[in-house]
Amino acid sequence: MTADRSRIRVADLLAEALAGILQRPGRTVLTLLGTVLGVGAFVAVLGLTASATGQISQRFTELAATEVTVEEIPAADSSTGPAFPADADQRIEQLNGVRNAGVYWTVDANKAGPVTGVPLPGAPTGAQSVLAASPGLLRAIRPTVREGRLFDEGHERSGDHVVVLGGAVAARLGVTQLAHRPAVFIDGTAFTVVGIIADVQRRPESLLDVIVPSHTASVLWGTPKQPPKMLIETRLGAARVIGSQAALALRAEAPERFRVQTPPDPRALRDGVGTDLAALFLALAGVCLAIGAVGIANTTLVAVMERSPEIGLRRALGARPRHIAAQFLSESALLGTVGGLLGAGLGTAVVVLAAISREWTPVMAPWTVAGAPLAGLTAGLLAGLYPALRAARVEPVEALRR
């Protein structure tokens, strides 16, 4: 009959919803907490995962991705002799894509005997491991030389009695500076200290060793009991190719005597880390968010019960059931969105603080932060559905009865 329709402007609806949640600020804050924590956990987990993955891949590309190791498989009978040929370093370094390569083994302690700095009775003799290493290995572990130099192919060929020491070992053996050509004694034999290394980027246990040229070691103490190993430093991206060629290059007639380890595919590793962490923590964040949504649902439902006279009044003033539903849905959606916004801030702060404390670069996908209020909004809408339906079904006659 009439052109008069019952309707409400969207701006008015939102203003009513805002007034609805602001009329009980304490309860609103408590209700928000669940969503804030849930969304915050989501953002923090995604951000931390991204940051950690970024960190891993950064380290990975620098060192691990360029590292190939070759081990000798112990032979069934001892008559076959050493698996690594004498010119193993040269054979491998000829391969395209190899930077440095070297063989190394730990010298048997009972053959090499005690290591001392000065040949005086009563000098400290602790257990000191002796590492036999080719010059290529010394380069491949990427040492930082504090003083002196590394031994080279010249020392190796002529079987010179020279050693390179890690900084801590040098201090323990009383070697402080190289100006007066100090020596250390291994089983009574004098070795000239040619260099002291402060740090290495690979095989950090080398810092605790007295490093002797491998040829010198095999002349003095014979073939090692422990099977030697080889460390190959490749150019970036060449590791897997080198890995497939190394055994053949070393011993074309018997490549099965070697076990070659190449780094895993960096992308696979990164994805693996991502999915492992994400799956676990996102599940927890999901639980948090669900609890937050239940909190909103609960509060909104209580509000519907409490405000039943208000609903009756609004119906008497011309509100249709859908207007009532829209108002309560807007209230819960507003709660969810505000919770999402605060959660995004909280999560970002956690990621940045965690990254700072571990000296990482914080990495966050834009959609993580942008999606947080949306996640809150969705949670709020879902949580508001049932209370809104209940509100729409309130009978005005009942509700207005005092």
Binding site: M1, D12, A316, L317, R320, V397, L400, R402
Partner: protein, 221 residues
């Protein structure tokens, strides 16, 4: 010109056994009339008010509001009639506790889609009209009982309804305060407003131009 026309309107709650709340009745209220409906509690006053206020549907008869037959209308249009034609005044005021007097009054035009500025202006005019121009921004908790009911009346007036439907408007007020509220209603009536008031107090009922009594669901007037 009639505002209310009831033709054989009755309401029976379906059983078993069926409970007749209002026997079929006839009632006509013309524009500008002041009618009170009086009767003891349980007599069917509230049922009649709910029917007149379009909050409930009769099970028989025809109810014409401003000449519009409301029986065949869908709920959507009955709701619209409430929004545009009827101003409610309740015994317990039904003000929103956390909203100012002005905001409470603006609610009556909220569901007409009227712009916020217009609603505010007309709400303040309505508050002036009930003598509360100085308490526009007060919260209901800071108002006396009489002031609260006057805010509620302002809310009912703000939409310029055809009919002011008052349900025991002084039931929660002391007699001195009640008088000021009743005088306000008298004034509104003198200014041309159609008023229908329900009360159990025959003293109050006698202020109206016409008194209709109801007892055991039977309307006699």
């Amino acid at each position: 010109m009639t505002v209310i026309e009831l033709h054989g309107v009755g309401l029976t709650y379906p059983g078993p056994p069926p409970v007749p709340a209002l026997q079929p009745c006839e009632l006509t209220v013309r524009r500008g009339e002041y009618v009170t409906i009086t009767g003891p509690s349980g007599s069917g006053k509230s049922t009649l008010l709910n029917l007149l206020g379009l909050l409930d549907r009769p099970t028989e008869g025809r109810y014409l509001l401003d000449g519009v037959d409301t029986a065949p209308l869908p709920e959507r249009e009955r709701t619209a009639l409430r929004a545009y034609r009827i101003g409610f005044v309740f015994q317990s005021f039904h003000l929103l506790p956390h909203r100012s007097a002005t905001e409470n009054v603006t609610l009556s035009q909220l569901y007409r889609g009227t712009g916020a500025r217009t609603r505010r202006r007309e709400a303040q005019a309505a508050l002036e009209r009930v003598g509360l121009g100085h308490r526009k921004d007060a919260l209901p908790s800071r108002l006396s009982g009489g002031e609260r009911q006057r805010v509620a009346i302002a809310r009912a007036l703000a939409g310029e309804p055809s009919l002011l439907l008052c349900d025991e408007p002084t039931g929660n007020l002391d007699s001195a305060t009640a008088d000021t509220v009743l005088e306000l209603i008298d004034t509104l009536h003198r200014d041309g407003m159609t008023v229908l008031m329900i009360t159990h107090d025959t003293g109050i009922a006698s202020r109206a131009g016409r008194v209709v009594s109801i007892k055991d669901g039977v309307l006699t007037g």
